[in-house]
Symmetry: C2
Subunit: 190 residues, 2 copies
């Protein structure tokens, strides 16, 4: 790959930690896999984006389907520990933090502009959760002409069945599905 | 519903007719259901969008994942009968025809602008195929704050299993899943 960028999506306390109301069941087991993926990008000094859902406390930027939920139980509120990246994946200096208010990391964000600025040629995606923020970002990446690699075991959903059904659909449109262990070889392939 | 618009997606000869290389297996059985949905919108003089994939003959507007396929086997080429809407769903005067080059009807099109112009408050979606053009359009509709109704039996995919897995994911984010027979009551609900 010429110049891949890593997108780590929504690995925030409100979506990962035990006991949080919006916890994604499959989020815990992916942490060590994302750490391995991140280490490969860091060792090659390739661009890393930590992509986070962050909302204003008044909920004015929450999508229509979640406004009622947000009123009852605010989540990923700017400035709270719930909105923070989990400490296991803390960003290093030089890595990009990008906040979003929708599922796709391309909607209402500077992601597309920054990928252009940085000369990125390929996207590697991981995080949570597979049918929503992961899949919308992957499909938008394809729409904007970036070949996408999805790291299967570094991506989690509410259930394994939902995860697998979405992996199949992404594979069907030409997304490359790999494991964290495969990644070094893929990054080094020319 | 205050002012719903109907989006009929990709019901073109190249994707529907027997023997066409890119035919979607589930496209035939949805035709009478889409006719029923269309009749409900027409009888109420509500906005109807016929949304079509249309490509330039040189393929310069084809997404990265399909460029090789398009070179081998061009599809939905502007001006060909393959790109035309199937005759069973021929547009009437006053209905909108909108062409796209990506899966989502919101990417690179005037759809978002026109929905605003027309004062549309809700989207009703049908056509082909469920995991790709349907789902990306539905998720983008939600992202842009339109409550979405998906007409299950007027929407088709390559297999029933893929269709159902995608219906479940859409229902999980708050998309209203209905049948063509339900639609009159839903359109008239205040």
């Amino acid at each position: 790959m010429k110049r891949p960028a890593l997108l780590i999506i929504d690995m925030q306390n409100d979506f990962v930690r035990e006991g949080k109301p919006l916890r994604v069941a499959g989020s815990g087991k992916v942490i060590p896999k994302i750490q391995a993926v991140l280490a490969e990008f860091r060792s090659r000094s390739l661009p890393v984006f930590h992509i986070l859902r962050v909302h204003r406390p008044d909920g004015s930027d929450v999508e229509i389907i979640r406004q009622e939920l947000f009123r009852r139980q605010p989540f990923a509120v700017a400035g709270t520990s719930g909105a923070a990246i989990i400490h296991e994946l803390a960003p290093l200096e030089g890595e990009y933090i990008l906040t979003k208010t929708r599922m796709s990391a391309f909607i209402g964000t500077e992601l597309g502009l920054m990928l252009g600025n940085l000369g990125v040629t390929n996207l590697v995606v991981c995080g949570i959760q597979t049918p929503n923020c992961i899949r919308t970002t992957v499909f938008d990446g394809i729409a904007y002409n970036y070949p996408v690699v999805l790291v299967d075991d570094a991506t989690g959903a509410a259930s394994e069945e939902v995860h697998q059904a979405n992996i199949r659909d992404m594979e069907n449109i030409g997304v490359k599905i790999v494991t964290a262990a495969d990644l070094a070889g893929i990054l080094d392939a020319r």
